[in-house]
Symmetry: C2
DNA sequence: CTGAAAGCGCTAACAG
DNA sequence: CTGTTAGCGCTTTCAG
């Protein structure tokens, strides 16, 4: 920048302003500066600029698992909306680990990111984490997982409705013994379970404790959960799984046991991951609009970042959508 | 930092050094500084530090598609190795778009990242891009896709061997009419095709032009490709697909046509994506050690970043591994 | 072992 | 429309 200024015999300030198309610079000077900058292949030093403007144009995205296609999709949605505004995205994998997550957030904060989107591994938001974020005045948006204990921007899906929708669908397909392979003790896991129970009640089926088994989040665990259910004296004829990977595992479990899907056991998942249609049995699911979640969160974050005054936290819940494929179709 | 200094009645410099555990600071002073820093919840400003040290401890990762589980896996591998060294990772999606990729790299470079890992969308490396990287002296490692036209660090897989391995396997399973749903005109696509041809020759099968169809990279395209093959007067009895998503689509195509896998058509993919085992027919594949690629690239990058003197570019090729599941098992 | 001086590359605020 | 002055928060260098 100094070089440009000297070459052109103007001051450094003029160059700085011209480069940023500041209004009060003559069209002609601006052109000359731009031309020379091009020639010298000049690129502004963002670090220096950030130091004085206090804006880094970096946004953080902390997610529990990039490999889970739900989060990959969310990440894409976020990127799609943030990049046009000039933000770069720093993605961190917390590996479902609260400690790691805390560290990552700390790192990001000390890098002065302008905003943060978090799908938290925490069930109850740590005081530590909140304070960190609030003291640094980093605007942030929570997605998918809403930890208790803080009123913050949140974009997610109506978990209870997912559970209810899936369960009712199984009932409508004629299932009478509907089980649930549940997720972890998180708001999502709990919400979906609640929806499941609500639907059972509504359909006049009575809840059975042995029809709710733990299944974690992935296919291995889903398969194990299913095997447990099949080992019951009276195995279920319909299973709502916490998410699609679990459901995929569950399908595997049924087939490996020599039974059929949906003939012997109808199965439905949640999340509509992109390969659902390619599974052993095309998987019925409840769509949670993954990339829309990402986009919505990103839009909200941009709004927060571009206004100075902190705004009222906003909750957005995206309504789920039933997608019926073969795994649950019995009629 | 200034606050700490004033509170303790020492100079700013002393604090700075104490915070970084510089050798020439008394143990006692160091403790006092650390304690006060803790109390004030002080965090170093990375921006300011970077401005003077010229190190940002950020590494860029540019990939064509986060949704493709291969790249998600690579990203995880990279993160696993880079984070322990204190680097944060800025991930950019180029969406298989050369323009976007160029822009992303430019952005990253002007943010003074310390190093870069790229799975390029470019077939022939643009002069522009090379110059950009070289002029900024950003060490970089290419992965998976090696664009022609530059001698650089590269970590990838032996594409030709993948093609040969897969094709020979089909032959050994008794397939006589082996087709290939090929990838794009990239080094990978071309390499795998070459391996396919080489294996045909080795097995004494004669190549047929109509047995090589375009299939892109994803399942939709894979399905289309398969339908084209099935429409031939003499459809193939074995198909090697460019990658697993394409193979998953191909399986769908076969089944939807009322044929069986592997009975009528044996299928094999490449990449060993994590859900391969859950597909309609568990997919045989050639594993390319995705996360190992990420890890290896990261290690190489760290080595480059930590040494001042530019080192000889290094090529690492990871040998592929055949994984036989149901989709190709005919014996 | 501690500190004073200088500056990283850039921009905000104000004065010509 | 252009330029001057000051400083962002930190580290490097060198002198106490």
């Amino acid at each position: 920048m100094k070089d440009i200024a000297e070459d052109l015999g103007v001051s450094l300030m003029t160059v700085s302003k011209a480069l940023r198309s500041h209004t009060d610079i003559s069209e002609e000077t601006r052109k000359r500066v731009l031309k020379r900058a091009q020639e010298l292949d000049y690129r502004p030093n963002w670090i220096a600029r950030s130091l004085v403007t206090r804006r880094t144009y970096m946004a953080g995205l902390v997610i529990p698992d990039l490999m889970h296609s739900f989060f990959a999709e969310v990440a894409k949605g976020v990127a799609r909306r943030l990049e046009p505004h000039g933000y770069q995205i720093v993605i961190s994998n917390s590996d479902e680990n609260v400690e790691t997550e805390q560290r990552q957030i700390e790192m990001l904060a000390s890098r002065n990111i302008d905003g943060l989107i978090v799908a938290s591994a925490q069930t109850t938001w740590r005081k530590q984490t909140i304070e960190l974020l609030q003291s640094n005045k980093v605007p942030f948006v929570l997605i998918d997982r809403e930890p208790a204990g803080v009123d913050a921007n949140y974009v997610g899906v109506k978990d209870e409705e997912i559970g209810a929708m899936a369960t009712e669908h199984l009932y409508e397909q004629g299932c009478q013994r509907i089980a649930h392979i549940r997720g972890a003790e998180t708001p999502n896991g709990v919400g979906r379970l609640r929806g499941y129970k609500r639907a059972l009640a509504k359909c006049g089926l009575k809840p059975r404790a042995d029809y709710v088994v733990d299944g974690g989040r992935n296919d291995t665990e889903g398969c194990d959960g299913m095997l447990k259910l099949l080992a019951l004296a009276e195995p279920p004829d319909g299973v709502f799984c916490y998410n699609d990977p679990v459901a995929a595992g569950a399908i595997k479990g049924v087939l490996d046991s020599g039974l059929r899907v949906p003939g012997d056991v109808a199965i439905i998942g949640a999340g509509n991951v992109h390969y659902s249609d390619l599974l052993r049995v095309p998987l019925s699911t409840v769509d949670q609009s993954s990339s829309l979640i990402g986009e919505t969160a990103a839009d909200l974050l941009v709004a927060c970042m571009e206004t100075k005054t902190p705004r009222q936290p906003k909750h957005t819940l995206i309504p789920p959508r039933l997608i019926v494929r073969e795994s649950s179709r019995r009629k």
